[in-house]
Amino acid sequence: MRRREALFLAAAGPTIARSQQLAGEPPGRIPPAAEIINASEMEAIARRRLDSAAYTAIADTGADRAAFDRITLRPRLMVSATNLDLGANLFGQPLFAPILAGPAGGQNRFHPEGELAMARGASKAKAVLIVSERSSVPLEKIAAESPGFWYQVFPEAGTTRAKIDLAVKAGCKAVCLTAGAGGTLHWAAIEGMRKDLAVPLLLKGVMSPDDARAAADHGLQGIVVSSYRGVPVPGMASPIETLPAIAEAAGSRLAVLIDGGFRRGSDVLKAIALGARAVIVTRPALWGLAAYGAAGVQQVLELLQSELARDMAMCGKPNLAAIDRATVRLHRR
């Protein structure tokens, strides 16, 4: 090759192409997981990774977001937060932070390792994972990756208690019974599921103070305020809006958890201020799973933990017990 030919080749070569500065996110680039800055960005990466059917199943509907925009935080200054502590305790189980990874069936739709990667990521982020009864991976394998896991079931005549007993045998620390989706829920049946159960039973899908009172009356240990009823109903109130009345009805009789549209640490802080003991995030964890497997799950959960910690510091609440109703202000619009 002659010298001038070599120069021509060099000018157009990849070495020089690299010297071009990247301006914005080039289309289709998958950045390293550490560059993901918030949950919404994780969704964008998940979208690039998934086919449209899988993505549609976990796309952000934005359904419950508007309600969070009607709640502001009240920053309280000059309270030392050098001893910041997000630790919580649910039914005797210590939590690193009041953020749990929620249940979703068939996670092999989003990542080849499915629930295993989810369990590994949650575990790395020191977060409790709630495993769906419709898991694509056997419970024992998940238990090995995420020992403090919880279990979620749908009520079905006859079979539910057997499933719960298997989960307890595999080591689950609590069971969430999802109300509404598909089957009908009878309090008598719930009592049957609760009887002699070694772990706490929570009713998931509570959206009214009456249901909260009934849950307490029937001996449940906790509820999850959640609008998940199988099909989304336009115009229905968001869980975060119904939370204050439900938390009041529950009083100290029930541990109140919540899910529905949690995307930011500030959302979690609002829920704690309005009476929740902990928050369940599902879609963001699935975005992390789809985007980067276990590393993505870990990253997105840790981002939420950090955001919550920063917001607590700036509201002058260095621990969860310090968070009170005056931490937030509710707005009409």
Partner: protein, 391 residues
């Protein structure tokens, strides 16, 4: 295909053309902006007109540094919305007198109840940095300027650049004694008040992280410095988590001039400020850069003013862009209003004349708003001037 056996000169010409179009020279073009004409200073009519000019002239990361807010920028947006929730009620056409706008803020005389907020690193915006901002502010009826603790130029080097009043803003350091030397220096150099910023204990700018990920080493330098590596398990920057109320008691003897607490957003904290010897409350959410989903400064101003009950002046910033915004804040009880992004846009867009012009635009608008609402003195500006509809 070219005939590569051509002569040397022809080959060089082809080579030059090829290289010019190669990615090697991609850096010369900033794909984030179109290449439109920069308007003349005289063509700009409102403060808002300066932002696109600043955008066109700045590198991406420097523009972002001025523009962004904390987290999802909810509070950044709310700061502007809040001014739409306050409407001015037109009064009687007035006496036809020229509105009287001169006032004294903590002993500092000012032609208008308007100051320049402390903002960081003006050399990002213009090679002349803070001295240029100061000259522009002084040219605009001696507008008092609050010099940031993280200015590109030391206070003593800014002070000789013009004649207008200067204040100093402090980011307190945990070893309280180590603040003394700096405070002595700036007071000796003529600072007429010290603003102690106490918000932003743990703020993160997501757009800055983006820019950092995309390579801007200059920004990494800017944000990497003072915060301190996290010792907590939540990866929260440690640098400012230690803030406590006793700080004001410790700083008080070091500050011979008025001491202002900046970042107050609740009546509770305003009252605590009074207990700790603060001479003025500065209501601010740091231009939406402190706590995401915190309130707009404007919506909490009335309740703070009510709590303070006139015992000390209340300064205000965050979201002010127009003279009418200044009037709204005064009507809700602010003694004076500070402008952060406005002079930054002026400086980035046109240097000294830009700062002067953009401040004069807001000052003129303020005067016009006073006249239009029939208020000819600052004392006559009160809550009857506005109708509020905060959500």
């Amino acid at each position: 295909m070219r005939n590569w056996t051509a002569g040397r000169r022809q080959a060089i010409r082809a080579m030059a053309g090829f290289v010019a179009g190669s990615p090697l020279f991609g850096w010369q073009q900033d794909p984030f902006r179109d290449h439109s004409r920069v308007p003349k200073l005289e063509e700009l009519l409102t403060g808002l007109d300066f932002e696109p000019v600043a955008y066109a002239k700045l590198p991406r990361w420097a523009y972002d540094y001025t523009a962004y807010g904390e987290g999802s920028e909810f509070t950044l947006r709310r700061n502007r919305q809040a001014f739409d929730w306050v409407r001015l009620v037109p009064g009687a056409a007035g006496s036809g007198q020229e509105p009287q706008t001169a006032t004294t803020i903590l002993g500092t005389p000012a032609a208008f109840p308007i100051l320049v907020s402390p903002t960081a690193a003006h050399m990002q915006l213009h090679p002349d940095g803070e001295p240029a901002t100061y000259q522009g502010a002084t040219a605009a009826s001696q507008t008092p300027m609050i010099v940031s603790n993280v200015a590109s130029v030391p206070f003593e080097k800014i002070a000789p650049a013009a004649k207008g009043p200067l204040w100093f803003q402090l980011y307190p350091r945990q070893d309280v004694e180590s603040n003394r030397e700096l405070l002595d220096r700036v007071q000796a150099a003529g600072a007429r008040a010290v603003v102690v910023t106490v918000d932003q204990q743990a703020s993160v700018y997501e757009r800055a992280l983006h820019d950092r990920n995309l390579e801007a080493a200059s920004l990494r330098r800017l944000t990497g410095g003072t915060r301190g590596a996290p010792r907590n398990p939540y990866r929260v920057p440690e640098g400012r988590l230690w803030y406590e109320w006793k700080l004001f008691d410790q700083l008080r003897p070091m500050i011979k001039v008025p001491m202002v607490a900046k970042g107050i957003l609740t009546p509770e904290d305003a009252l605590l400020c009074l207990e700790h010897g603060v001479d003025a409350i500065y209501v601010s959410n740091h231009g939406g850069r402190s706590l995401d989903y915190g309130p707009s400064s404007l919506e909490v101003l009335p309740e703070i003013v009510d709590a303070v009950r006139g015992r000390v002046p209340v300064l205000f910033d965050s979201g002010v862009r127009r003279g009418s915004d200044v009037l709204k804040a005064l009507a809700l009880g602010a003694s004076a209003v500070c402008l952060g992004r406005i002079p930054r846009w002026g400086l980035a867009a046109y240097g000294v004349p830009g700062v002067q012009k953009i401040l004069e635009i807001v000052q003129t608008e303020f005067k016009q708003a006073m006249a239009a609402t029939g208020r000819s003195t600052l004392a006559s500006i009160d809550r009857s001037l506005v109708r509020t509809d905060f959500p």
